[in-house]
Each structure stands twice: as C-alpha cells, then as structure tokens.
Amino acid sequence: MKSAEVILGAPTGLHARPASELVKLVKGLEGSRVTITCGERSVNAASMLSLLSLGIKSGTSLTVSVDGGEEDAALEAVTGFIESIKE
C-alpha cells in the first residue's frame, strides 16, 4: 500500500461536481482500492456519497492511500487531481 498527504485547495471545499470527477478517475484505476482519510474517518474514494459525507473544507489535509494495481501511478493521479481542483 502506498499513501501520501495532499491539501484540498478548492475555495469552497469538495463539492459534487469535482467529487464526481474524482470518483470517475478512481473507478478507472484497475485493481486499485483508493481510500481517503480526513481526520479520523476513512472512506472509499469510489463512492461519491462517502466523499461528500466527509464535508471536506478548503485547506484540509487529506491522506490518500492506494492498495493494489499500479500503486505509484494511481497515487500520483489521485493526489494530482485533488490538488488541481479549483472550483
């Protein structure tokens, strides 16, 4: 398993549209299970409801963990996407 920390820069927090794009990205990563941890809660990043339920605010530090598949590439893709969310 590989993991990395990333900070959500989106000014209004994680909202439905970027969350749904993140879910699409994660579902496309074959063989990898992606978990996002915010504070004490960890959720499956392939579930938009779970992601939204974290209520992630701007500037929050998240831990992304990838288990299985192309772990390094998947981790880079997911953290890169979260960093790029601007809306």
Binding site: T12, S20, A46, M48, L49, G55, K86, E87
Partner: protein
C-alpha cells in the same frame, strides 16, 4: 385565483410489504433515471447517487443483518440522510433532499406502489398530497390537473415553481388529514391565473406586453400566447453545465432560432449574468465573500472577454443572417435588443459599444443596445446612462435588494426586501423620468411586473412595457 374540484388523494407507500426485491427495484429505478438524466443535471446527479457503492452496500448490509427489505432501505436512507445533514455546509446539507428522493423512488419500486392513479385522473381534479418531490412532478399530468394541495413545502419550493409555470394553481401548508378521495376541495393561489389579466390591463393602457424567457421553448410558448416580444431572454443556460466556453457558432445558432421564433417582434437578449455565485467549470474563479457586490454581470464580461466576445459575435451573426431572410423586420430598427446586466456607470456601456464597433462597424443597424437598471448607481446616474443607451429595462429583484441593502434570502431582514417600499418607488420614478427625457423606452421585468398589486402603479409611473414571467394561452 380560487379553484375547486374533486380531490384525488395521493399516498406514497400505499402497500405494506415489498413486492419486488431490491435488485429488481434498482434496475427499474436505474432505467427511469437514466432516461431522465439525458436532459437534466438534477437527475444525472441522482443517477450517480444510485450507482454509488455506499448506497447499495448500506441496503445489502441491512438485509443480510436480518431486516425486512423495506426496513433495510429505510434504515440506509436514514443513515445517509443523517450523515449529510450533519455536515457543516449548507450546500452539502441540501444534498440530503436528493438522497431522500432517490430512496423514495427505490421504495416505490419495491413496494409496487402504482403511480397510475395520478396519470388517470379526471380533468379538473385537485391532487392532494402530503409532499411532492421533484421526481414526482415529472410524472404529473399538469394538463388534466385543476390544482394541487400540499401539506409540506414552501411557496418557493420546486413543486410550486413548476406548477405555476405550468399554469396550475397550488397551495402549500394545508392540513390534508381530513380530506378523502372525491371530496370537493378548494385551492387558493393568489399568484396563479392573474397574468392574463395583468396583460389585458397593461395593453388597455397602451403598454407593450412582453414575456421573460430562459430558453427557446419559453420564447415559443410566450409568443404563441400573444406576447408582443421577449422582454428578457436570459442566456445563462448557454454557459452553465458544460466544460468549455460556448463558441460564436453556438451562440449564433440559438439566437437566430430565437429571433425567428419571435417573428420580427423584439427579442431583448441579456448578455451573460455570471458571477461569484455561479461557478463555471471552464473558468476557475475565486470565491468572493460577497458575490452580489463582486465580479458579476457586465463587470465579469468585460474582464473575461474571451467568453463575452463570442456571445457578442454570435448575436451579430444571428442578426445578419435573419436580416438576409427577413429584411422587412429591420425596417423600423432591429428586433434584436441587447441588454447589459449590472451596469453601474456609463463607461461600461461605452466599453461594450467599443467592442461592438470593433467587431462590426455597422453594429447599430444590427442591434439596439440597452441596459438593466438594477443598481442604485444606475438609478442615480440614469440621465448619463440614458444618453448612451437605446432603452432601459428595470430588474426589480436586484434593484430592490440593492436599494434596501437587504438579502431576501435572509429571513431576519426579508421584511425590508419590499418592491413596494417608498425608496424603490422613488427609484422607479427617477428611472422613468430619465428615460423619457432622453426619449428612450423603459420597460420592467422582474417579479414586480408579474405582481397584480403593482400593475396600476407601473402603468401610472409611465413604463412603456411590462415583461411577464409567463403568459397563459388565451382560453
């Protein structure tokens, strides 16, 4: 307007046990939502929720722990709703309604509740319901409905907006517990059915009656119902829910169709009114502390000219190609009127004129250029703005909010948000006087134009046109 008719009582979850398994219900709901999602972002979000692993997992978990399938469904719904309602973010809290709606569909499919009753109602029936969700409204046959009585909901809820837009009176907050099927019931909706009488009164006093539109269908139905033109054509639909900047060609195609639908009658096209409260995926903007005083309307357009210029080019192209087909429509001046939103000083109008002149030196023969009067600055400097404008259009919703410095969504100060306040009345007087001194027409759009209590006042003030939220076809 008060209507009465036989009650048709609609109860959700009429049957006790499940007649379909969760998997069967899931397949039915998925197919329904997939069909609805094609044209509607609300339902595509619902489809995404349905496909979410969390939803299925939660229900399956309940079933495997021994709950009856319907109870497992309810438990899963309650858990997910509670999770959203617990989030400290108004936007995310509101998603709980979407979750309820998706679960409501699943429950109906599992319980086998027939919605056929709603479709086979006799004409003129009054639908009586505890609550109507957005998904329910898509299945109602509004043509046969005489009215709706609803216990839950506010007068600004989704079902009220849809119902009034379809011309069906609706009353919410009614205790429906004592009503049985077939009882004669009354619906009292002061906002329904009065638009045609506003139109008649205004016409009798020599005012033009226009219609507001936010898409091509609304233009067509308004003209069909007798509107003398479109008083405001909101173009935001072209910019939202997409991932790239709309092209000149896309604008031109829509505006040409709009002009042709108007058949030579004026079409007042409002240029994009985008601001900090609306996010465009192709233009990351900084969230503002106070979007209503921030970068919106013409301020936004002049900063982001790569989005604004294709809109202006599209409008000019549409006017040119319609003029080629119908040169007679342009004889007394172009039917295409461009309205600039959120103007607060004359320089903004001059900047738009500069851009138009650069795009088309002969633009004055292709379109007229007017402004929205919706800021106190525009009212106070109206004579200077009138000198640069071909017409004025007063947007009473924003004007009232800015003059009274009161957000109508803020319950504690909503009493100040009053288009009948003396200060707003004086603003309207100043605006009309400045327009008429400059010999340009002044119209009014916004909710006040569609409020029967205001009609007499607006006629007396000297407005040249009213633009109504919609027009019912003459029966």
């Amino acid at each position: 307007m008060i209507v009465s008719g036989p009650a048709v009582v609609w109860r959700r979850n009429a049957s006790q046990g499940a007649v379909r398994s969760f998997d069967e219900a899931f397949a039915i709901v998925r197919a329904d939502l997939a069909a609805l999602a094609a044209g509607n972002p609300v339902f595509s979000a619902h489809l995404e929720m349905l496909d979410d692993t969390m939803l299925c997992d939660a229900v399956q978990e309940g079933i495997s722990s021994g709950l009856a399938p319907l109870d497992a469904l309810d438990a899963a719904r309650d858990g997910i709703v509670a999770m959203f309602e617990g989030i400290d973010d108004e936007y995310l809290k509101a998603r709980a309604d979407d979750v309820r709606d998706v679960f409501g569909r699943l429950r109906e499919a599992m319980a086998g509740e027939a919605s056929g009753g709603v479709e086979q109602m006799p004409r003129g029936s009054i639908l009586v319901a505890e609550e109507l969700l957005p998904s329910d409204t898509t299945r109602l046959d509004f043509k046969s409905l005489g009215g709706i009585l609803c216990h839950k909901g506010s007068s600004t809820s989704h079902v009220c907006i849809i119902s009034r837009a379809k011309g069906v009176p609706i009353q919410v907050g009614v205790d429906i517990s004592g009503i049985s099927e077939g009882d004669t019931v009354q619906v009292d909706d002061p906002l329904a059915g009065c638009l045609q009488s506003i139109a008649s009164r205004a016409r009798a006093s020599g005012l033009k009656v226009y219609v507001n539109a936010a898409n091509l269908d609304e233009i067509r139905s308004g003209i069909e119902a007798g509107a003398e033109g479109v008083g405001i054509f909101r173009t935001e639909f072209l910019f939202l829910n997409r991932s790239s900047v709309p092209s000149r060609e896309e604008h031109a195609a829509i505006y040409k169709e709009a002009l042709l639908s108007c058949g030579g009658r004026p079409l007042a096209l409002r240029t994009m009114d985008i601001g900090g409260d609306k996010q465009l995926p192709y233009l990351p903007v900084q969230a503002e502390d106070n979007p209503f005083l921030g970068l919106r309307g013409i301020r936004f357009s002049l900063l982001h000219t790569h989005i604004f210029i294709p809109q202006l080019e599209g409008a000019l192209d549409a006017a040119r190609s319609v003029r080629d087909i119908h040169p007679e429509w342009f004889e007394g001046g172009s039917p295409l009127h461009l309205i600039i939103p959120m103007v607060s000083c004359a320089v903004e109008i001059l900047q738009v004129r500069d851009i138009l002149g650069w795009l088309a030196p002969d633009y004055r023969s292709l379109l007229e250029l007017g402004i929205m009067i919706e800021t106190p600055a525009a009212v106070l400097d109206a004579p200077a703005l009138a000198a640069e404008s071909d017409f004025f259009s007063v947007g009473t919703n924003d004007l009232t909010q800015y003059i009274m410095a009161a957000d109508r969504g803020e319950a504690a100060v909503a009493y100040l948000y009053d288009s009948f306040a003396p200060a707003v009345f004086k603003a309207l007087q100043l605006t009309v006087a400045a327009a008429h001194d400059a010999k340009i027409p002044v119209g009014i759009c916004g909710e006040m134009a569609s409020d029967p209590r205001a009609t007499g006042i607006l006629i007396d003030l000297g407005f040249d046109s009213l633009s109504l939220s919609r027009l019912e076809p003459i029966q």
